[in-house]
């Protein structure tokens, strides 16, 4: 299953940028991770809000003196835009990452795909699969209802026939009583 969904624009940051710039960009774009690019615009690593906490704040390193390159995870674990869902999932699993920057032949980021997006896609597929099942169940339920109605009609007609044999009705009387009986039975449902 090729991952052909249009992926979102990657938010990038230069490896040489100060840490504060990375935090500001995360806040500005409301994301928790940035693709770090080198001087040539190629993906060099990934930096997440967790990296900022664990590798800078927790280490009591002076944030003003640090650059993104000092705390990022490198090299970047990436994927090609034409890889299929299985390959993407496998890589996320094996490498323990939730996001994969998608890069072109030059290693320049052109998109990013997240585990959450893939899961959402799989869930929608499953939901689509259950649709024919639900439609079939509705048809079966309707068929059962019709069967029950037919049974009621059968019993009503049997009752009329029995009485016809015992009582001397004309055909017209029998017909009218038959309709009354049917109506009564169906009305009772």
């Amino acid at each position: 299953m090729r991952w052909t969904k249009k992926s979102i624009e990657p938010v990038t940051i230069a490896a040489e940028a100060p840490l504060r710039a990375a935090a500001e960009r995360m806040e500005d774009k409301a994301v928790g991770s940035l693709v770090v690019v080198d001087g040539e615009g190629r993906a060099a690593g990934v930096v997440t809000d967790r990296d900022l906490v664990v590798r800078a704040l927790a280490e009591a390193r002076d944030a003003d003196e640090l650059r993104v390159a000092d705390v990022m995870s490198a090299p970047a674990i990436v994927a090609r835009p034409d890889e299929d869902v299985d390959a993407l999932l496998e890589r996320m699993w094996r490498r323990g990452v939730r996001r994969l920057p998608l890069v072109d032949d030059d290693g320049v980021p052109v998109g990013v795909v997240s585990l959450d997006e893939l899961v959402e896609h799989l869930v929608l597929e499953l939901s689509d699969l259950t649709r024919p099942l639900r439609a079939r169940q509705r048809r079966i339920a309707r068929r059962q209802e019709l069967d029950e109605l037919a049974q009621e009609a059968d019993q009503a007609l049997d009752a009329i026939y029995e009485r016809m044999r015992k009582v001397n009705w004309t055909a017209r009387e029998a017909f009218l009583r038959g309709i009354d009986e049917l109506r009564a039975r169906l009305g009772r449902r």
Binding site: L19, R20, A22, A23, E24, M26, E27, G32, D49, R50, L52, V53, V54, A56, L57, A58, A60, A63, D64, V119, L126
Partner: protein, 159 residues
């Protein structure tokens, strides 16, 4: 409301909830998150859980504004009031609460409001996915059981 057969507490591996005092500094909180390998801490005021602070709250609250991590108290960065879930609640209730508040984690509390655990959207996702996996095994087993031996007397192996 009776306790559901699969209370949400059963779906989470038992793990101690990492907490931090509201008066502690962002730097303390960061160290605690690093040591505990967690992405969030429940913030306490004495014994009472009053909020939650995540790695994102720390990174953005401190670094994006050029503040000093040693001087910013956690209470200024935390999310509050704290949204909690009774440990006996069901998976459906947990999902509903996460959705309603747009959050990814729920501290679990007992009858007395004491912190007993923490469940995340990831935990729920794993639980549901495992159920789907069991369903797929059920389908496979059904296929296997249907394969009649060639000597079957009803159809002489023709079906």
């Amino acid at each position: 409301m009776s306790t559901p057969a699969d209370p949400v507490a059963k779906l989470v591996p038992a793990r101690p909830v990492e907490t931090v005092e509201g008066t502690a500094s962002a730097a303390d909180a960061a160290r605690r998150m690093a040591r505990g390998h967690v992405g969030s801490l429940v913030v306490l005021e004495g014994e009472r859980p009053v909020g939650i602070v995540t790695d994102r709250d720390l990174a953005l609250g401190v670094l994006a504004h050029g503040l000093c991590a040693e001087r910013v108290p956690v209470a200024e960065l935390m999310q509050s009031p704290l949204i909690t879930l009774p440990e006996s609640a069901s998976l459906e209730e947990a999902t509903r609460l996460l959705r309603k508040h747009g959050i990814l984690r729920l501290p679990l509390v007992d009858d007395e409001g004491r912190l007993v655990g923490l469940i995340s959207a990831d935990d729920l996702q794993i639980a549901l996915a495992l159920r789907l996996f069991t369903a797929s095994k059920a389908i496979r087993t059904e296929w296997q059981n249907e394969a009649l031996p060639p000597e079957c007397p009803s159809c002489f192996g023709k079906e």
